[in-house]
Symmetry: C2
């Protein structure tokens, strides 16, 4: 692997090739780690290795984005089944290094071993902008809830890929459809995250769907008083392709509702901010060319919960998780 | 997992419970990562979960020891098969936290997921003593080669455990025999490593046997001129139990020779130092109550190689790796 690595920057005093990497670090460091395991987090028959390598790093960068952080270093642990081909491993590493280069992250070490299924363990080190990350625990009653981009696409893309597999359909086109791309090749919202450092009170990335991820913010932010989140259904941002799939009536479909609220893996940023920040957020949206949607608010409550309501005020029950709606395959990513 | 964790020290600004951990760090950081995978690195039927948890952290701490470093933080990624019992997972975590507490390391984050076999990904962050770690690349011609403790025990212990399994023998006693313990519960030589910061020119931990690990030092240290290592067979330190197993003639046994030189997993420190450091090393041995054996020297050469010789000067060929000598089981740890 070592000869494949690009030249290292001056913060890397020693990279691959010793017992440990030796790095120059800031006085504060952010660390995140994710395991990606074949048939649990990805289906190899649906996932080209280059995109898998990209995603393995992107999902970790998304965690750094959600802290308003700057990623610096990555460590890659790889477990390969014996039958895997060298070309496959090469493409996986190539994808990983592409995302590293795109985001000025250096691969500084790792471990390679045999494993019964393809196993990818990624650790990313970074630092907080302005020495203070945005935590999940900073949400306040009165805050508004925002999300970047659109949600539900990655889940729907994954469903379409699985369907194509069952029907033995040609999937090469689907791989590059906008929905499948959201599942296969997520974009970590690093720049948006960093710009939100001075705006957001609490932030998380959308890995398990906005209901689960907003609940995490509520759990961490509810100290003396429990907090609840109120979500306005029609404000939840959906892509054109997502709407089209549900014949422009996504909210009248149980599957559409479930995917948008619980689909996960969109890797957008979900955050809360004081109402007075609206103008700054609008400016940021223009600057980045990225949608920022105000989808709800944070309120004092008797217990931690999420209330879902129509714009007309009528509440509706939270959908069951999407994977209970769609026909199951052997495995569902989590 | 979160409620099981001990209270965090003041260097941990945010531990488990956010998108990333947030840490106070020194201006230089050491990072190491190891994957441990069931049936590749350990056989679950031979490995009590508490000891597996201990070993998962200890082998990473050994990497920090080999840099003359101080470990500070650990990140634990766990992939569990669905059939695993909660009690098993609890004991594994307990063992991991024991070693963390013994070495003042804080578990600051991780990831838990499903996996087809038990999968453990550990990352450890630390810092170099005196801001400068001991690298593999510092060996010089004229240096002497040293190793702490005894070697070959872990490999022999593993062989004994496997034999007991094949013969359906009672293994509970064996688990606690001195040789099996070397395989099941290695001791990271952190204090020795730190004390060697001002003594050793190059250092590595013995994870794959002294021949492989010394070769790593030679490869990293050979720049303008290739370096070779000369090892004096009879000086290689063996435990009483190891000698006894080979009827006090370990060097006349092909298996004894192979285990001592290529057995691996002893997690002792192998280092080179200038001859003038002998007195300092003798003092350190007294202070720590740990054997330090001078087993060879580093010489200029035409190519990178290891020469093995008797004390009388007669050379002998390097043994084949131990796992080619012993009857194979399905899997051999690497």
């Amino acid at each position: 692997m070592r000869e494949r690595l690009p030249a290292l920057g001056k913060s890397v005093l020693r990279g691959v090739g010793d017992d440990a990497a030796w790095l120059k670090t800031a006085s504060q460091t952010l660390v995140t780690c994710d395991l990606l395991i074949e048939n649990v987090h990805f289906l190899p028959q649906l996932t080209p290795p280059r995109l898998l390598g990209r995603k393995a790093l992107s999902v970790n960068l998304s965690d750094i984005a959600a802290m308003a952080g700057i990623p610096d270093f990555a460590i890659l642990g790889l477990g390969f089944p014996r039958e895997i081909e060298l070309e496959y491993a090469d493409e996986l590493l190539e994808g990983f290094l592409e995302v590293a280069a795109e985001n000025k992250v250096e691969l500084i070490g790792g471990d390679t071993t045999a494993a019964p299924v393809l196993t990818i363990a990624v650790t990313v080190l970074g630092r907080a902008l302005n020495k203070r990350p945005v935590l999940r625990s900073g949400a306040k009653a009165g805050d508004e809830v925002w999300v970047t981009g659109t949600v539900g696409d990655a889940g729907l893309g994954f469903e379409l890929l699985k369907k194509s597999l069952n029907q033995e359909q040609e999937i090469s086109e689907l791989h590059y459809s906008s929905l499948a791309v959201r599942h296969l090749n997520p974009t970590p919202r690093l720049e948006a995250g960093q710009k939100l450092a001075a705006i957001a009170n609490a932030m998380v990335d959308v890995s398990d769907g906005i209901v689960s991820d907003l609940t995490r913010i509520l759990e961490e932010s509810s100290r003396k008083t429990p907090l609840r989140g109120r979500l306005f259904l029609e404000r939840i941002p959906l892509s054109r392709d997502f709407r089209k799939y549900f014949e422009d009536k996504p909210w009248q479909s149980k599957n559409g509702l479930a995917l948008a609220l619980t689909g996960g893996e969109d890797y957008e940023l979900l955050f809360t901010a004081a109402p007075k920040k609206r103008r700054l957020i609008a400016k940021l949206a223009d600057e980045l060319g990225l949608a920022f949607s105000r989808i709800g608010k944070i309120e004092k409550a008797r217990k931690i919960e999420i209330i879902l309501q129509h714009e007309n005020g009528k509440t509706l029950p939270l959908p069951k998780p999407w994977f209970e709606h769609f026909p199951k395959t052997e495995s569902t990513p989590n």
